[in-house]
């Protein structure tokens, strides 16, 4: 990717990045419009399925079952893919995966590749690694092309350029494709992309893709797409290199009958996306004659090891949770500082990275649960968020440094106060006294606090706090008892 990559290691913490994002009214308008359209489309095609909940349950069970037998299914996939003429490679982490892919591209004899949109290659920042090795990668998905030519970063896992509107896209294409007369209807823009990329499809000899599903039973790979750029990259080159997280495997061909119903309706709100490709190894006279698959761990086994976080791996990358999320819809995707944004990003990123690189993300949620409602494989995202919040706090309060953590000390003090009625009452009285200099009355005589000192200021930065009542419920109740009413 051309611009500064979204890297949780270097990105600003979510509250800081979100503040900047909230100031970008054009971006917020674009995101609001796009997520509204996609939500309405999804709702319509989901409502017409009488067995949607049964499909979700089956999807969840298939994914859970796969993770329980992941070692077996990966080996089965490897054996069947190899038998069909594919070459399977394994990578422990992003660094190994990049080295393998770069080497395979070089071995293919090409200094350029055509690429299908792939979040996995974004995750490992493959394009930059290819550039360093003297290989130019052409993104061929329309949205990825917009991102690449605009030297921008993806903001959504399904529609990466969702934060750009047609006028902005037109400006990018005019400049980078040298088309001063370009119109601004979506059709004009799609036609421009067709012209720009067709020559590359017909010429470039090496393709790089991700994968939606690896089928253990057959050794086949399935890719779901819309534009046909995927089919071009999978079919026309001489060499195809597919890179997939180890979580992408599914047990049997038959399981696609569930996933191919859940994914398109959840992702783009279509009954079926325009193209699904399934291919198995190599076949003489049809498609690339050299085919490599790179199976990458990159911390997925760490997620598997955490019983409470494990179901994060069930994700099929539909993006439905982003579109409904009240936080994502305000900030857009880039504030998350990771290629995986929104609710799923808030649980996936901290687990894929060492937690301290993304520790603000589990808090980037109001826990409203809308993400869980729409998840096609029923990942309980709010539950995982709470689990991860617990882990963040544990890390912060562990050891000697925890003794000096202000928040931890405050929480401990709160614990002490809540444990005893006497202390609780004393704290209430103390609160009422100490707030007095901060309270300002409004027109109705209601007291408001618009500034609090220190860490408490986090609350009053964006909203006022009503003053504490003069009399607590307990006081009132007791008084009432005494008067015998």
């Amino acid at each position: 990717m051309s611009g500064v990559a979204l890297d949780p290691k270097t990105a600003a913490a979510f509250p800081i990045a979100a503040r900047t994002a909230l100031g970008d009214t054009q971006m917020r308008k674009n995101v609001r419009h796009a997520t509204e359209v996609i939500q309405a489309k999804r709702a319509r095609v989901v409502a017409e399925m009488p067995d949607w909940q049964q499909l979700r349950e089956a999807g969840k069970q298939i994914r859970q079952h796969t993770m329980e037998h992941l070692d077996y299914y990966l080996q089965e996939f490897e054996a069947n893919c190899t038998r069909a003429g594919g070459v399977v490679h394994w990578a422990r982490d992003a660094e190994e995966a990049r080295r393998i892919v770069v080497e395979l591209v070089k071995a293919s004899g090409s200094d350029e590749v055509i690429k299908i949109k792939s979040m996995t290659t974004e995750e490992i920042q493959l394009n930059a690694a290819l550039e360093r090795a003297g290989v130019h990668a052409y993104e061929t998905d329309l949205a990825e092309l917009i991102i690449q030519l605009g030297e921008d970063q993806p903001s959504h896992i399904v529609v990466p350029a969702l934060h750009k509107n047609r006028q902005q896209i037109r400006e990018i294409f005019k400049r980078r494709m040298n088309l001063p007369e370009l119109g601004e209807t979506p059709q004009d823009l799609a036609d421009a992309a067709r012209m720009f990329l067709r020559e590359k499809f017909l010429r470039v000899k090496t393709g790089v893709s991700g994968a939606n599903f690896l089928i253990a039973e057959t050794g086949g790979v399935c890719i779901v797409e819309s534009e046909g750029n995927g089919r071009m990259c999978l079919t026309l080159p001489e060499t195809l290199i597919t890179i997939a997280g180890i979580d992408k495997v599914v047990p049997r061909f038959e399981d696609l009958e569930v996933l191919l119903q859940l994914l398109p309706r959840s992702a783009t709100g279509e009954r079926m996306n325009p193209y699904n490709s399934i291919w198995t190894g190599v076949r003489e006279g049809d498609g690339p004659q050299t085919f490599h698959v790179v199976l990458m761990d990159n911390a997925r086994t760490e997620i598997l090891a955490d019983k409470d976080g494990r179901n994060t791996l069930n994700c099929i990358r539909c993006g439905a949770c982003l579109n409904v999320c009240p936080v994502y819809r305000q900030t857009g995707g880039q504030a998350y500082g990771s290629v995986y944004a929104g609710p799923i990003g808030a649980i996936l990123t901290p687990q894929l990275q060492e937690m301290h690189h993304a520790e603000s993300l589990p808090f980037a949620s109001s826990l409203c649960g809308a993400c869980y409602e729409v998840c096609p494989v029923k990942i309980n995202i709010p539950e995982v968020l709470i689990h991860l919040r617990g882990k963040v706090v544990q890390q912060k309060t562990a050891g000697v440094s925890g003794l000096f953590d202000v928040e931890a000390v405050a929480m401990k003090a709160m614990g002490m106060i809540f444990k005893s009625e006497r202390r609780f009452r004393a704290a209430q009285r103390l609160g009422r006294m100490s707030e007095t200099p901060l309270v300002r009355k409004d027109g109705q005589g209601v007291g408001w606090i618009s500034w609090l000192p220190g860490m408490l200021g986090g609350w009053t930065q964006v909203r006022d706090l009503q003053e504490m009542p003069k009399e607590t419920f307990r006081d009132w109740w007791e008084k009432r008892g005494k008067h015998g009413k």
Binding site: E68, Y73, A91, L104, I246, E257, Q261
Partner: protein, 223 residues
């Protein structure tokens, strides 16, 4: 770094990744355990159709039109006539076809060239492509192609800008599970599902027809 180095990385990574997985979930899985677990997956979704064949065909036509495809329903003897009309209606003339496409579907007076492994550039020079199909799904308006006689390799239905597809009514099922059941025996063949012409919704989530695959689609439904 050469290919031996990759092989070495990959071999040690393989052992390490499998070790990590087994450690993470506390044990090694095998074929028996996997088979038992898989058969316990609860599948209460629809796996069979609940409607008459005629309703399924109507649904299929309706969903295809929703994608902006042209559909015409004809009896076998009328296929060639319908093909002639559709190709003329699109203003096309020179079509590539896979080997094994029934000769009686081809109307006279047009140029049909059998694919013999042409280059992508050569395919790009055709006005369109005409094929048969393996199975079709009414509920999603999907046609499935496989690398078989009358359907050919994947590139021919991809590079030309216009696709005319003949679908046999007997191959139309209502639901996705029914289609997957029919495809199982030949699941190793290169398989393409297409649902309408190539499209994108990447610009403001507006579905627009035609990016890289065929921008125009006609379907002859043979009953």
């Amino acid at each position: 770094m050469g290919s031996e180095a990759i092989t070495a990385i990959s071999a040690s990574a393989r052992a390490e990744v499998l070790r990590r997985i087994r450690l993470a979930k506390g044990g090694t899985s095998d074929a028996n355990a996997a088979r038992t677990g898989w058969s316990n997956v609860v599948r209460q979704y629809r796996r069979e159709t609940a409607q008459a064949a005629s309703a399924t065909l109507e649904m299929f036509e309706d969903r295809l039109r929703d994608y902006d495809a042209h559909v015409e329903r004809v009896v076998p003897a009328e296929v060639a006539g319908a093909v002639a009309k559709m190709i003329a209606g699109r203003g096309k003339r020179r079509m590539v076809i896979p080997s094994g496409l029934p000769a009686e579907w081809l109307p006279p007076g047009l140029e049909f060239v059998v694919d013999d492994g042409m280059s992508a550039v050569e395919l790009d020079a055709f006005d369109g492509v005409m094929t048969g199909s393996t199975v079709a799904i009414a509920e999603t308006g999907t046609v499935v192609l496989q690398n078989a006689a009358g359907q050919g390799r994947r590139a021919i239905t991809l590079v030309p800008d216009y696709h005319l597809c003949v679908v046999n009514a007997a191959d139309v099922v209502e639901t996705v599970p029914e289609a997957m059941e029919r495809l199982r025996a030949t699941s190793g063949l290169a398989t393409t599902f297409f649902s309408g012409p190539s499209a994108t919704a990447d610009i403001e989530m507006t579905r627009i027809k035609g990016v890289h695959g065929p921008r125009h689609l006609d379907v002859v439904l043979m009953t």
